[in-house]
Symmetry: C2
Subunit: 342 residues, 2 copies
């Protein structure tokens, strides 16, 4: 996503720097302008690449967080420290608006990406708030964005001015953006759809067809909305572009990582467990956000008393060695009686 | 759908007869047990096939309407007359429960399938009611059902006993069924999703990718729900298996007729207009329910004052010679400001 968004900003002639926590990866991207994760994409020359936060954040007026959820805390702590600690950089970071495109929930503390960012920016006497934080979400398989195929997104912030600023900054001929003030709903939808997408991939791996996958999508969406509204999110967010729209592309695009991981899992081509949360090989390895998020969601839903049968099944498949066919049979048994959405 | 459902009933050892209004088609199916529309499917020997309504409806205890919406009125009038007119057959038909699997809206009178069936059964002194009528809907691409791939459906009726009877009759290891009492919502969702699917096919024909198609799905769903609730349907029906579930399979399955029609239209491989509402060739020709339904929906929405930009675009493409790229550009321009679902 960092590459696809840098492409938009370069097109808009916005001065853009990509920061990577990995010096070798930064050097390779800087020189070749290419990444194995987006084989056909070439990074515009105007985009700078660095592993030095002091370089990346000098004069920055807006930051994008494209770091996967489970690594946000450590990476941004490193940025904070690299900016000179509490005295200078801490405050600089505290004032910088950040737009997050990560889609997950932290396994241990059940924190959403913007909550983690708020905590990293927290200082004595300056409590954690979501001020200056926004989310950019929607059906955005990066490989398609990188080809400049059309996409519709949602810019969400509790600060309407920041939402409109994000909307204006990333608007381009191939990217149209709605605003939304339900940050909680947009972030939860983005996180939860990755869990459902693993189940969709399992259906693909078992060769069960579009009807089964679409029923799963509908029941998964109901499960997402149930979880979200229990936490105070708005139901309609789940039925919007950043909810059902993102869920659909994640479940159906051949290029979705979480779906591909589920498919490989069903075919026995990859293993579950924490090792399974990275997927692919070598420099093309990418993080399957849905796997750790399934862990977080299942634990959280149990404490909330919310029924999440699909997330439970994904958790069983990825972390407890449950067989795909058994998990599916269990889900099919549930479809009887009257359908409940809320 | 008639073939796929006959297969379920034969599996359940329910005595089943398929009636066709076309004697030649009936004879061919009876002899070969095969149809060009489902090339790999073989009709079980236990299923009878006839073009004679008196044979088909003798001793019938439940009828399934799998006739496309625009032909229901004429076909069922023929059945009614074939059963001996008002004196005998009219009453027999009046008492027979009918489950409809048609998904469309009549162009001239804006009638749903069960409304048409109620009107055909109407007699002097016996007003039209939806008593004894049910709908079976959901993500059910027939080619997948015919391969006995798993599907989840909804049996909807204002009569809970009939809904449960339909649920029990068609339940099988590969078909799980929910009940629902929102007949209006289930029928409108089934009709409207075919219109959105034509737009999804156009996106495929233009090669615009899953992100664009998923955004269309989300905005199409919002449009479906807006239209449905304006007429008194329940919002949550559109977010259930028979709403978003059916919409997803119709937009993404390569085998969906409405999607395929839209794709061919965008590629210039077929023409719009009323001729375009049949699609394919020879005995494999099938009816594209979404085309006449777009006509009905656009006219109806205008009288209701409901905004239906995607249905309007499909109508323009199919009936007014609008160019696909121009229609898409217009839709993309709309995505700005705050997202509205209701």
């Amino acid at each position: 996503m960092a590459l696809a968004l840098a492409d938009v900003l370069a097109f808009r002639q916005v001065r853009t720097t990509i920061w990577s926590p990995f010096p070798e990866a930064a050097l390779s991207l800087e020189r070749t302008r290419r990444s194995l994760r987006l084989p056909e994409f070439e990074l515009p020359d105007a985009v700078l690449v660095t592993a030095d936060p002091a370089v990346a954040f000098a004069d920055a007026t807006l930051a994008v967080n494209a770091i996967p959820t489970q690594f946000i805390r450590s990476a941004w702590s490193r940025i904070r420290d690299g900016l000179g600690g509490d005295a200078r950089g801490g405050d600089a970071l505290g004032r910088l608006p950040i737009v997050s495109v990560a889609k997950g929930i932290e396994t241990e503390r059940f924190r959403r990406p913007t909550e983690i960012l708020a905590e990293v920016r927290e200082r004595p006497g300056r409590p954690s708030t979501d001020g200056g934080l926004a989310v950019l979400s929607g059906p955005t398989i990066a490989a398609e964005l990188a080809r400049r195929l059309p996409a519709v997104l949602v810019a969400a912030s509790s600060d309407p001015e920041l939402a409109r600023r994000v909307q204006a900054t990333f608007a381009s001929p191939w990217m149209r953006i709605y605003t939304n003030d339900d940050v909680l709903g947009v972030e939860l939808a983005g996180a939860l759809k990755n869990v459902i997408a693993i189940a969709a991939g399992i259906i693909d791996g078992l060769g069960l067809g579009s009807n089964a996958k679409s029923a799963l999508l509908a029941r998964g969406l109901a499960e997402m909305a149930r979880f979200g509204t229990a936490l105070g999110a708005r139901t309609e967010t789940f039925f919007g572009v950043a909810g059902v729209g993102d869920l659909a592309t994640t479940c159906f695009s051949p290029e979705g990582r979480n779906r591909s991981f589920g498919e490989a899992l069903a075919r026995g081509e990859t293993s579950g467990g924490d090792a399974g949360t990275s997927f692919g090989g070598g420099a093309a390895t990418s993080v399957v956000e849905g796997a750790p998020t399934a862990k977080a969601v299942v634990a959280w839903a149990r404490t909330l008393g919310v029924s999440m049968p699909i997330a439970e099944a994904v958790h069983g498949l990825v972390f407890e060695g449950l067989a795909p066919a058994a998990a599916l049979a269990d889900l099919m048994r549930r479809a009887a009686g009257a359908e409940r959405i809320g």
